[in-house]
Symmetry: C2
Subunit: 152 residues, 2 copies
Amino acid sequence: MAGDGTRSFGVLTEMSGFLLSMAQAHVYRMDEQLEALEGLSTAQLSVLTVIHENPGIRHGEVAEMLVIKLAYMTKLLKGFESSGWVERQSDPADRRAIHLSLTPEGKAVVGRTLPRLLAHDAERPNGLTPREIGQLKRLLTKYLGLPERDEG
Amino acid sequence: MAGDGTRSFGVLTEMSGFLLSMAQAHVYRMDEQLEALEGLSTAQLSVLTVIHENPGIRHGEVAEMLVIKLAYMTKLLKGFESSGWVERQSDPADRRAIHLSLTPEGKAVVGRTLPRLLAHDAERPNGLTPREIGQLKRLLTKYLGLPERDEG
DNA sequence: TATTGTTATACTCTATAACTATA
DNA sequence: TATAGTTATAGAGTATAACAATA
């Protein structure tokens, strides 16, 4: 922060939105150096993971789950297809829809990189104790309306 | 989410980084409709607030505090200058440095819009109780290594 | 008419690097 | 040599809208 050490955020730090944005920036900054993902970004790996977890999921469903714009999903999926990681299958009952699944190569990529990201996430430096990290994850899960996972 | 209602994020939800990213996306989505900021984005208002709170702060210090790239800060500040909200003053002791402060108009804009953003932030829908929001803010503050504010 | 997905454009912000002017 | 800030370019991702195919 430099200067005289008295720099202040004022009331910004009273807003959950500001704090979440700053925390995300912190995560982004830590993750950008991560070379264990074979060139994948965390966002890309999230998409592959969701397809892996939900074989046959539709294009638009993935976009909605991950809050990614449909128009941008199209671009991402094109890349995954040309990498040979994702297959599309059009629905015979509704031929507008496209169902997605991972190829064996796609599954292998997720199998290699996702555990590395998990480990990295658990070790990413922050000011919290392991117990507090657990609290934070529980609160964020509820914040987002996601189903709770019963931790060990 | 549509489909059969059994869509899963798999282990993604075990990662604080993923949850923070999703929460930030949620905030962004809620805030983009906010018309009370007179055309300002929340990021822009954050910059103005930090200058307001720390008159004379240097260009690069603002960028570091808010985790904004220096190159992009230059562009933002140009816009603020041409809006007549921010003034630059070069440091006579170190003529590379630029000190920033708000004009009366800049202060007026912050005075009008910041309270509206505060109110909006407190009302942004989420799955937490007010007490849990307080916990979340406290954990994020500590996560980021920011000084604690003693809440009422 | 509404919905699924595609394409294209403008815009925001990061990553990077070359550059000026100081120190 | 290093630091503060500027400028430029490439890329990720959003906002928006027009479009094709299908329902």
